[in-house]
Symmetry: C2
Subunit: 337 residues, 2 copies
């Protein structure tokens, strides 16, 4: 691929010049919303979604080309006994994504989304962050660039998902670095660890924070030291989407932790993103609250793969269809409005 | 049409012999769910939905033919000043449904649902229930039969919606009759009445309960005295769907009040129905709690027309697609499960 950035500094510079929503387009959408054949506000959040979307895509938007991108990575921290599944499952699930057998394949098909799979050096897990930085600067840059380049410039809605045995522990460490609090506030059962496993996850997060003490104030450096390739790639993709004015639906805890790196590095960097759902992984609700995002769905999903966000594609499609497709009171000859 | 019932007694008899879910099919779905390539429970409510749906439709179900039916009726109680819109809007919106300009048209199209519109004697509003029974026995039977006959036997998911200026007041009166409580607990702003209008709605409900005191213990009689043609038609359609083993998504306050008549007349009659969403109309949350139904969506909609339930069609489609389309651990060669 053509690398979008030669250095991390160039990526930081891109974050400093993110485009803003078009206030005029949003205002025009708000004015149109008030003329549509329904009591004002009667479509609830669908109206807010449409106005927000128009701010990024322009007046009378259409949503025809949603893209789901799955990034997969392996994590050295699995040596701390933090997952119920062996690391080999990451590659096995990538194959399952490629042959169409996973939940995300069905969800993408249901809502007409294109799906792309990127396996990131699965045979080279990141370093165990309890002992060393998870990634070198070059590895972080590679992952950010892969994520950035994976976004289809023609897409009109982006979902980023992930697969990586051990990555809820990495996300919990990253969230603790970004927002503080006790490691126990941010760890959860992930794919299904027992109480002892949960204790090992909290201990690993605490060990990681201790190992990298004093080095975590910069959000991208926290990502490098505690994150993983798939987290960095999601951050790169979400930033690329912003640059291309492509709205984003955030998935669960791991995706949101990756996205939060951007928000902490450049406040407002997630203004083009909605929270697709609230995961059953307990740290997610806390993270969404820190970001000020109210999730569209709350159906107890905790799968990753972009599944919760993909499920929310239908909500955004419906919002845009109503906004751009409904008749106005005048067009329909309906009294009131 | 061929009338499905010659008398109200025949309708009552149908309610007494509703089919039950196939426990074997549900059990087989539960067993399949445990073998799919995801941690057990990681798809949250999507897994419950698929198992429930299989209980009505059989193993490895598909969802290909959702049907949305809109029933419209006019209400004599509008003479009490209970709506922000004139009664003429009911017919105007029916025309809007027929020409594709309403929210429900866009929502049905987004999720691939067939849509049918039934305007029920709009030029003959029901009687003002503060003074007399809203409908005669013949009018109630006609509306129940219209609703029943409107269901496509080939549909595999049903949404019933409504349009009827004044019908939140009718639904509030019906809910008060079915579940008790103060009229103020059940009335809301509907299409957008002010505080004075809200007071008139509560007064109308109280007057209706007073007028029909001692005559409201039988749920179908409460429907006849306080309801409206579109409410009766929705009840008829939801009962017909049960008889044909077609799962139902309940819409907002008015639809749910109509459905509650069936549940009060024959406990368990709504086991084939999920609550599609929770409306911003405050009585809806109360009504769902009384029915023991947890809504799939909570996005602040308060439009009626079946809009909230139609929005939830995508959730059910996604649940069924995952359940019937995903690979098992064995098929995909993934460790664990």
């Amino acid at each position: 691929m053509t690398r979008p950035f030669a250095t991390l500094t160039e990526f930081r510079q891109a974050l400093a010049r993110l485009p803003q929503p078009d206030a005029g387009a949003a205002e025009a959408a708000r004015a149109r919303d008030a003329m549509l054949t329904k009591p004002l506000g009667a479509l609830g959040r669908l109206e807010d979604i449409a106005i927000w979307y128009a701010g990024w895509r322009g007046p009378l938007p259409r949503l025809k080309a949603p893209q789901v991108i799955i990034f997969a990575g392996n994590h050295g921290v699995t040596s701390q006994g933090v997952s119920a599944f062996p690391q080999a499952v990451t590659a096995q699930m990538v194959e399952n994504f490629r042959t169409g057998g996973a939940a995300i394949n069905q969800l993408a098909e249901t809502f007409g989304a294109r799906i792309d799979i990127h396996a990131l050096n699965l045979d080279q897990p990141t370093a165990d962050f309890t002992e060393a930085p998870a990634m070198s600067e070059g590895e972080l840059l590679d992952a950010l660039c892969t994520g950035w380049a994976a976004v289809d410039p023609q897409a009109d809605l982006l979902v980023t998902g992930e697969m990586g045995i051990g990555n809820t522990t990495s996300a919990a460490a990253l969230a603790t670095a970004l927002y503080g609090g006790n490691p126990r506030d941010w760890v959860g059962r992930g794919t299904g660890v027992d109480d002892a496993g949960l204790g090992r996850k909290a201990a690993a997060v605490a060990a990681g924070l201790s190992c990298h003490r004093g080095q975590l104030l910069d959000p991208l450096e926290a990502l490098r030291r505690l994150g993983g390739r798939e987290l960095a790639a999601m951050a790169g993709a979400i930033a690329a989407a912003r640059t291309a004015r492509i709205p984003v639906l955030l998935d669960g805890f791991i995706c949101t932790a990756a996205a939060a790196v951007l928000e902490r590095a450049a406040p407002g960097a997630l203004d083009h993103a909605l929270a697709g759902h609230c995961s059953a992984e307990p740290g997610h609700e806390r993270l969404l609250a820190a970001l000020g995002k109210t999730p569209l769905l709350n159906l107890g999903l905790r799968l990753g793969e972009g599944s919760g966000a993909a499920l929310a594609i239908g909500i955004v499609q419906a919002a845009i269809a109503c906004h751009s497709g409904m008749a106005t009171f005048a067009e329909a000859g309906v009294s009131g409005g």
